[in-house]
Symmetry: D2
Subunit: 332 residues, 4 copies
C-alpha cells in the first residue's frame, strides 16, 4: 500500500475548495497520514482569547491539501475512507463569535439586535478516559463528555470553475460539519476536475448535531485516510457509508431544501441498491430513514438522511468499495 505523510507548513494552509495548486499527487489506494490545524487557525489557545480580537476572519478553517488523485476525471467518484482520527493537541476550544452561530442573527439572518456576549471555552482532553472536559464560563458547572473525533470538512474542487470558501458545505462536500464523518466512514464525492483535488480539515474532538453555536470542540487532528477512485458513477451529492449505515448529506437553504436534496439522492441510491421504482423507494424511506441535522450555522445548512443497513438485505454500494476499504485499512 502506498503511503504518504503530510503536515502542511502554515504557508501551505488552504482556505478554499478549488483555486489552489495540489500539494501532492497520490495514486488511488494510497494511505495518507495527515495533520490539520484547528478551524480557528490556532488563534485561540486559552479562555482569555476572545474570538473577535484574536481571529483573522479571512483565514478560517485551514485545509490540509489539496491532493491530486492520479487518474481522477470529472464524472468519477472519489472514495475517502477515514481510518483513524486522533487529537493532535491535549485540548480543544469552542467560542461564541459575534453574529455567527445558530442562535444569533448573522450576516444573512440580518437583524438589528446587539451581538451575544463573546466567550471562549477550552476543553481538556483526557486521553485515558477518552473525554473532553466542559467547564462553565458563567458558573461552576463541569462535565466530562466522551471524546468522539470527527472531521468537519472533507471536499473536492467544485464544478464550473468555482472556488468556494472552506466554510461552505455543498455538492462537493466541504464543511458539512456532521458527526457522521468519523473513523470508519467512507465519503463518496463526485469528481469535478482532473485530479479531484481533495482536502480535509476542521477536526472536531466532539460536536452535537446542529453545531448550535457555530463551533465544535475544535482541535488540530491527526487523520489517517485511505483514498480510492471509482471510474464514473459520480453521485450528485455526498454519499457516506459505514458498516451500519448508508447516508446522504444535503446542504442548502432553507433547511427543508437540504433535507429534500438528501432525501431525493437517497431515493436514487435505493433505486440503484435494490432496483426499486422511485415511488417504492420514496414510500420505503418514509418508514425507515433517519434524518439528523448536521449544521444550522454554515453558509449552507446540512442535513443527513441515513438508513440502517441491518433493516435490509445485503447490498454493495459502489461494488463493495466501503467494505473493501475497511478490510484494507484493517490490514495496513
Amino acid at each position: 500500500m502506498d503511503s504518504v505523510e503530510f503536515r502542511p507548513e502554515r504557508s501551505q494552509y488552504v482556505y478554499t475548495f478549488g483555486g489552489a495548486d495540489p500539494v501532492k499527487r497520490v495514486r488511488p489506494g494510497t494511505l495518507l497520514t495527515l495533520w490539520s490545524e484547528d478551524a480557528f487557525n490556532h488563534a485561540i489557545t486559552s479562555v482569555n482569547d476572545v474570538a473577535s480580537q484574536v481571529i483573522d476572519f479571512r483565514y478560517l478553517n485551514p485545509q490540509t491539501g489539496p491532493f491530486y488523485v492520479e487518474g481522477a476525471e470529472p464524472g468519477d467518484t472519489l472514495a475517502i475512507h477515514v481510518v483513524d482520527l486522533v487529537p493532535a493537541r491535549s485540548w480543544g476550544a469552542s467560542a461564541a463569535i459575534p453574529f455567527f452561530g445558530g442562535m444569533t442573527s448573522t450576516d444573512r439572518t440580518a437583524l438589528l439586535q446587539q451581538a451575544l456576549p463573546e466567550a471562549t471555552w477550552v476543553y481538556e482532553v483526557d486521553t485515558a478516559a477518552r473525554t473532553v472536559g466542559f467547564q462553565a464560563r458563567f458558573g461552576d458547572f463541569e462535565v466530562a463528555l466522551p471524546l468522539e473525533p470527527m472531521l468537519g470538512t472533507v471536499g473536492v474542487a467544485p464544478a464550473g470553475h468555482e472556488v468556494r470558501s472552506s466554510l461552505v458545505p455543498e455538492r462537493f462536500g466541504g464543511n458539512m460539519d456532521t458527526p457522521e464523518i468519523k473513523a470508519g466512514t467512507t465519503v463518496f464525492l463526485g469528481v469535478n476536475v482532473e485530479g479531484a483535488l481533495f482536502s480535509i480539515g476542521d477536526g472536531h474532538y466532539r460536536q452535537g448535531e446542529g453545531e448550535a453555536c457555530g463551533t465544535a470542540v475544535e482541535g488540530a487532528m491527526n487523520s489517517t485516510i485511505l483514498v480510492d477512485l471509482i471510474k464514473g458513477r459520480a453521485p450528485l451529492w455526498p454519499r457516506l457509508e459505514t458498516d451500519d449505515y448508508w447516508m446522504i448529506v444535503g446542504s442548502s437553504r432553507p433547511m427543508e431544501d437540504s433535507w429534500r436534496i438528501a432525501q431525493l439522492e437517497m431515493i436514487r441510491w435505493f433505486g440503484e441498491l435494490f432496483d426499486l421504482h422511485e415511488m417504492d423507494a420514496y414510500q420505503l424511506l418514509s418508514q425507515v430513514a433517519e434524518a439528523p441535522i448536521a449544521n444550522v450555522v454554515d453558509p449552507n445548512y446540512s442535513v443527513v438522511v441515513k438508513v440502517r443497513k441491518s433493516l435490509f438485505p445485503a447490498a454493495h454500494a459502489f461494488d463493495g468499495m466501503h467494505r473493501d476499504l475497511r478490510s484494507r485499512a484493517a490490514t495496513r
Copy 2:
C-alpha cells in the same frame, strides 16, 4: 388509580385542537385506555383504495378526545405519559397523496408540475415477529420492518381562542409526527384553557424521521395513557422525557426556525435543570444535542432537539414527574 376506557363512536371523532366539547372529565392521575381511528379515517383498506378517490379531505386525522382534566388552568403543565401502544388492526396503510408530502409540490410550495403517481401500500402486521411487511407496488421487493408503534398526535387546545386542524403541529403539541412519542415517553404541554382539553390520535405502526411521503404506516391504535397535572410551570413548547432523553419539539417554517425554537427551549430547560447561564447552556448543547427531524410534511415542520441523560448528572425535570409516572405505570 382511576381508570377510564374510551372508544369514540364515529360521530364523536374530532378533527381539531380546540373548538370541541370534552368527551369526558378525568382527574389528574387517571389511566386512560383509548382507541383511535387511523389518520385516513379508515377510508383506505386495500392497495386498491386510491387516496384522492376514497378520502374525504375534510375529515383527516380523527382525534380521540378531548378530555377535560380537572383542575387544569392556563399556565399549568399537562404530563401525558404513554404507557403502551398496541396496533388495533392486523395491517396498516400508507399512501402517496397528490400534492401532499415532502417530495412533491404542495398547496404551499406551489409549483406548476403534475402530481406524482398515486399509490397505496398496505403493511401486514406480524404480531409474533413484531414486524410490518413492506411490499413494493411497482416491483417485487419485500422487506419486514420492525413494528415500532408511536402516536403522531398528542395535543391540547390552543391559546388565543384559536381552533386548529388536527393536521397542525404547534406550541400546543398536535400533529408533531415524531417517532419519539412511543411507549415510555412523557409529553409535557402547557395548558391554555381550563381543563386543558387534550386529545390523541394518528397512530403509526412505524415511521421514519421526516415522514417523507406524508403518511406513516397508519393504523388504528390501542393506547394506554397516564395523565397528570403540574400546577404552573408551563413550558413554551412541548417537552418530552424518556428514561434516556430530554427532548423538545419545535414546529414552524422554514425548518431552521423549528430547530431554533427547539434549541432555545432546550437552552432554557438546561438552565433550569443545571442552573446554567444561557451562554454556557448554548455552548454545552452545541457539543451534546442530537437533532432528528420529525416531519417535513405538515403545515408546520417539526424538529426534535434531544440530549442523552447519561452524559449528565442526574436531574429531575418537573420534580421527577416522568420517573414517577413510569413507576406508577409499572405497578398499575
Copy 3:
C-alpha cells in the same frame, strides 16, 4: 342600495376569523359604513405608552364584524369593495414591540439575543395637507409623509372549522397588511362557511411594503365598504382588483412559498382571463408581473403578485364585478 352603519361596542370587538357570531346580517349589494379600532386596541395614545407595559397581547387587532352575507355558501366568492377610508382620529401610532417585527428575533425565528429598545412614535394627521408627521424619538429629524389610508385586515371565516387569530394572513384573507387594500380596491375571497362571516379592521394611515417593524401608522378608521356575492367560482387565494391592476396575495413561510402561491394563482387567473395555456401564462407573467412584498412580520409572510391591466386587452374578471362595484359606489 341597502346601507348599514356599524360601530362596535368594545365588548363586540372580535379577535379571530371564525369562531364568532355575526354582529349583523347583510344582503349582497349592501353599503357598509364601519368604524374600527386601531390594532393596539387604543392602548397606545402617546409616545410615553410603551407597548410591553400597556398592551394586552391577548387582545390585538380587533375586528369589526363578522357580517353574515345572505345567500353566501361555501364555494361562492365574496367581493368586498373598499369605497372610502377616512382616519377616525387625528393621530396614528406605531411601536417597536419586543421580539415582534422583521428586524428582530421572534417567537419563531427564536434566538438568544436581547430585545431591541422599545419605543413608540405618534404621527399627527394633517387633514388639509393629507399628511402624517414622523418625529424621531432618538433625534430631531422630522418629515411629513403622505396620508395613504389602507386596511391591514379583510377576511372571512376559515375552512375546516378552524378559528384563527386576527393577526394571521391566510387563504381566507385576514391580516395581509398590504398597502394595495385602499379606496378603490375590490377584494375577492372564497367563501368557506354559510354567510361568509367577513370582518375588517387594522386601519393604517400609511404603511411601507414589508411593514418592517411590525406596525404601520395604526389608527382607528371609518371605512365605507360595498359588499357583493358571486355564486361559485371561489378563488383559492385572495384576488384583488383595482382600475389599474389584477393582484393576488399569497401568505405562507418561507417567503418564497408566499410568492409561489401568488404566482400560481395568477397563472390560473390569467388562464381564465385570456384563455391561456398555463405554460404561456407562466412565460408571459415572467415578463410582466410586479411582486411587492406586503409583510414580513405576521405569522405568515404575504407577497403580492400584480399585473398592470394597461399592458393587456380589456378583460372582465368575475364578469366585470369590480367595474360594476366602482360604478355603483360612484352613484351612491
Copy 4:
C-alpha cells in the same frame, strides 16, 4: 472623458465573478461602450431551439469583462452608472428550462415530480414602437409589451479568494436580475480585490419582478457605462441610486433573509444620509420603504428595498456621485 469600446470575442467570454484576468484596464471616469452576448450564449435563435438540447449548461450568462479599475483597492466603492442600454439584436428569447425557474422543482427544491414541458418563446423587437412581441406557444394569444432594457448582471470579484458562477447574485452584485438596473441607475459595489474586476452582462429586453420562469426576454445588449471610484466607504451590499430612488439589493435564501439584508443595509444608509438613530430609521422605513422582489430563481433570491427620494429632504449619497455621473453622462 476617457472612453473604451469593447466587444469580446467568444473566446473572451467569462462565466464567473473572480478567477479571470482583466480584459482591459480603465481609469476612474471612463465611459465604456460594451457589447454583451445573451444569457443563453446565443444557443437559442428560434422557437424550435429547445433549451435542454441546444444549451451547454457549463457556459451560461457570459460576462463582458472583467475590467481592472486603476486605483481600486479593497474597501473602496465602485460606482457603475448605466448611461444607456440598446438591444443589439432584433429579437430576444425566453425559455422554460427543465428544473430551472420559480414554479418548478429545482436542484435545491429537489422533488420527485416530472419536469414541466419545455418551450421557447421568441420576442420580436419593434424599435419604432419600442415593444417586444409575445406570441403564445400553446395558443394564439399575442401582445406587444414595452421594451424596457436592463442588465441582469453587474458585479465585481468576490472577497475571500472565492470565484462564483455568473449565475449567482451576492454581496459582490452579480446576477441580481432586477429591472431596477436600467439606463439612469448607478450601482455602488464594495471593492474586494485590487482593480475591482467588474463585469456586466445578461441583457434583458424586459423582465417581470421575480423573473418567474427563470429567464427574461434575453438578448445581446449594447451598454454604455460610466465607471468611477470612491475611495473607501464600501457598502456591505449593493446600493443603487436613480434620480428618484435609493435602493439596496439583498440576495440569499430563504427570501425573508434577502429582505432582512436589504432592510438592514437601508437602515444603515438612512442613518448616514439623515443622521438617524437606527431605531428611528427602522421606524421610518417601516412606513416608506417599497420592497419589490427581483428574482426567485437564482442560486440566491434577490429582494430590493427602495425609498422614493421625493418623500425626503435632499440628501447626497456618496457626496452626490450619482448626480455627478448623470451630469457627466449628459454632456458626453
